[in-house]
C-alpha cells in the first residue's frame, strides 16, 4: 500500500516542499523521511484520511527539525517564519498542487535539457537515479552528478519556483513537453503509474495553455499510446502490434486521444507531437495505413533530424516495401546504445532469414534491456532457431 501512496503522492509532496523550503535536497530528504515514517507507522495504526497532506505535514516538520539541528536555523529563518500552520494537519485546501510550478522550475532554460528531464523524473515522478541513468543511456554516477549540479544551480542562480508569466510561456513550453513525454515513455515500458502521471501533467498543460497545439498534441499522443497498453501485454508478456487483440484497446482513451488530436490540428498544429499523434491514431486502425504512417515519419524525420524517428520510419517501410528496404535504412543509423535499434534490426534480419546475424542483434538488444517483459520477449526470440 505504501508503494501505491508513494507513486500517487511523491511528486505532489516534493513539489509542495520545494515551494515551501526553496531547496530541492532538503525537500527530497524530508519527503523520504516522511515516507519512511509512514511505512513504519501506517501498517500498525492505519493510514490517515488524507495521506498526501499527512506526508507533507510530516515532511515539513522533519525539514524544520533538521534545519534547527544543523544550526542553519538563523540563515533560513525566513522560511520557517513563513505564515504557515506548519504544526497543523493540512486538509485539501491548504495542500496546493504545485507540480506545475515544480515542472517549469525543473525545465528552466538555464539548465541543460538532459538535466531538466532528469530532475523532473527524480522530483516529480520519484524515479531512482539508476532508473533515470538507464533511460538516458548514461552511467549512474554521471546521472547523479548531473542532478547534483542542476539542483545547485537552481539555488545559487535564483531560478524561480513558478509557472512563468505569459510572455515567457511559449519558449518554456518546448522543454516541458519534452520532459512530460519522456516521463510517459518511461512508464510505457511497464510502469503504468508513470504514464498516468505524465497524462495528468499533460492534461494540466492543456488547461494552462488551451491555445497551444503541441500541448493538445502531446496529450493526444500519450492517450493513443496508452489506449493500447492492455493489448501490448498478454499474461505479462510483450505482444507485437500485428498480433495485438484490438478488442483490448481502450476505446474511451482512443476517442479522447483523437479529440485532443483534432483540437491540435484545428489550432494548426503541425509540430513533432501532432505528427506523432497522427501516426498513433493510424496505428489504432485496422488495417493500418502503413503508407501514410511512413509518409508522416518521413515528415517527422525532416523536422526533428532524429535517428530514432528514422528507425521508426524503417519499421513502417518494412510493411510497405519489405524488410530488405527497411534494413538498408536501419544500417546507416548511429544508435548503438539504443536497445530498440538492435531489436528492430534483429527482427528485420529474422524476416530475411539471416538468423545468425539476427541472433547476434537480439543478444546486443538483450544486453541493453532491463529485466521485464521486453527482456523476456527478446529471450524467447533468442531461444528460436539460430541457423
Amino acid at each position: 500500500m505504501i508503494d501505491d501512496v508513494f507513486r500517487d503522492e511523491w511528486g505532489r509532496v516534493v513539489a509542495n516542499l520545494v515551494g515551501f523550503l526553496g531547496d530541492f535536497d532538503l525537500a527530497e530528504e524530508a519527503a523520504q523521511e516522511a515516507f519512511a515514517i509512514a511505512a513504519e507507522r501506517w501498517p500498525r495504526e492505519g493510514a490517515p484520511a488524507n495521506p498526501g497532506a499527512w506526508l507533507t505535514t510530516t515532511a515539513r516538520n522533519r525539514a524544520i527539525d533538521r534545519l534547527r539541528r544543523e544550526r542553519t536555523f538563523a540563515a533560513k529563518a525566513h522560511l520557517v517564519a513563513a505564515p504557515e500552520a506548519v504544526e497543523d494537519e493540512m486538509d485539501e485546501q491548504t495542500f496546493p498542487d504545485e507540480r506545475l510550478e515544480l515542472l517549469f522550475t525543473c525545465c528552466h532554460p538555464a539548465l541543460a535539457l538532459d538535466a531538466q528531464v532528469a530532475l523532473t523524473l527524480r522530483t516529480l515522478a520519484g524515479l531512482e537515479t539508476g532508473e533515470i541513468a538507464r533511460a538516458f543511456l548514461v552511467p549512474e554516477p554521471t546521472m547523479a552528478q548531473r542532478l547534483v549540479r542542476a539542483k545547485k544551480k537552481i539555488r545559487a542562480a535564483g531560478v524561480p519556483f513558478r509557472v512563468p508569466p505569459e510572455h515567457l510561456l511559449p519558449e518554456r513550453l518546448t522543454a516541458v513537453l519534452a520532459v512530460v513525454y519522456l516521463v510517459f515513455n518511461e512508464g510505457y515500458g511497464g510502469r503504468s503509474d508513470l504514464a498516468a502521471d505524465a497524462i495528468r501533467l499533460g492534461t494540466s498543460l492543456t488547461e494552462l495553455m488551451p491555445d497551444e497545439p503541441e500541448a493538445h498534441a502531446l496529450l493526444a499522443l500519450m492517450l493513443l499510446h496508452d489506449a493500447r497498453r492492455d493489448a501490448r501485454f498478454a499474461d505479462g508478456e510483450l505482444v507485437l502490434l500485428e498480433e495485438q487483440d484490438r478488442d483490448l484497446y481502450d476505446a474511451a482513451k482512443i476517442t479522447a486521444g483523437r479529440i485532443a488530436l483534432e483540437r491540435a490540428l484545428a489550432l494548426r498544429g503541425r509540430g513533432p507531437y501532432a505528427l506523432q499523434a497522427a501516426i498513433a491514431s493510424l496505428h489504432a486502425d485496422d488495417p493500418c495505413d502503413w503508407h501514410e504512417i511512413a509518409a508522416l515519419y518521413a515528415e517527422l524525420a525532416r523536422i526533428t533530424a532524429s535517428p530514432v524517428v528514422e528507425l521508426n520510419r524503417a519499421v513502417a517501410v518494412a510493411e510497405t516495401e519489405g524488410a530488405e528496404a527497411a534494413l538498408r535504412l536501419v544500417e546507416g543509423l548511429d544508435l548503438d546504445g539504443y536497445r530498440y535499434f538492435h531489436a528492430a534490426r534483429a527482427e528485420l534480419l529474422r524476416r530475411l532469414d539471416r538468423l545468425p546475424e539476427a541472433h547476434e542483434a537480439y543478444r546486443r538488444a538483450l544486453e541493453l534491456t532491463p529485466a521485464g517483459p521486453e527482456r523476456r520477449f527478446l529471450e524467447r526470440r533468442l531461444a528460436g532457431p539460430a541457423t
Binding site: 528552466h108 532554460p109 538555464a110 539548465l111 541543460a112 538535466a115 549540479r149 545547485k152 544551480k153 545559487a156 542562480a157 535564483g158 531560478v159 524561480p160 512563468p164 515567457l168 519558449e171
Partner: protein, 106 residues
Amino acid sequence: MKYAVLIYSSEEGPASPAEHEVYMELSGRDSTYGGAQLHPVATATTVRVRDGEALTTDGPFVETKEAFGGFYLIDVENLDDALEFAATVPAARNGGAVEVRPIVER
C-alpha cells in the same frame, strides 16, 4: 583614473573571506569603490540574441574571439529577470554574448 581589476581564480580555491580582509587592509581600502565575489562557474547562464530571439544556454561564455568588455551589477527578483535584462544588452544582439553570474551575498 578608474580601473577594473579582473580576478581569475581556480574553481577549487577561491580566496576565503578572511584572506580578503587581509588583502583589503594591505591594498588600501580607500581606493576601491565596488566589487563582488561571483558564484562558481557552474551557476553561469549565457544569453545570445539571434534574429530577435533570445537563446539561453547553461554554462559560461567560452568563445575566445570576443573580449570582456564591461559589466553591470543588477538587483532583480530572480534569474528570469536577470536573463531578460541580459537579452537587452547590445552585445547580446550584435553577435556577442552576455553571461549572467549570481553574486555571493554576505
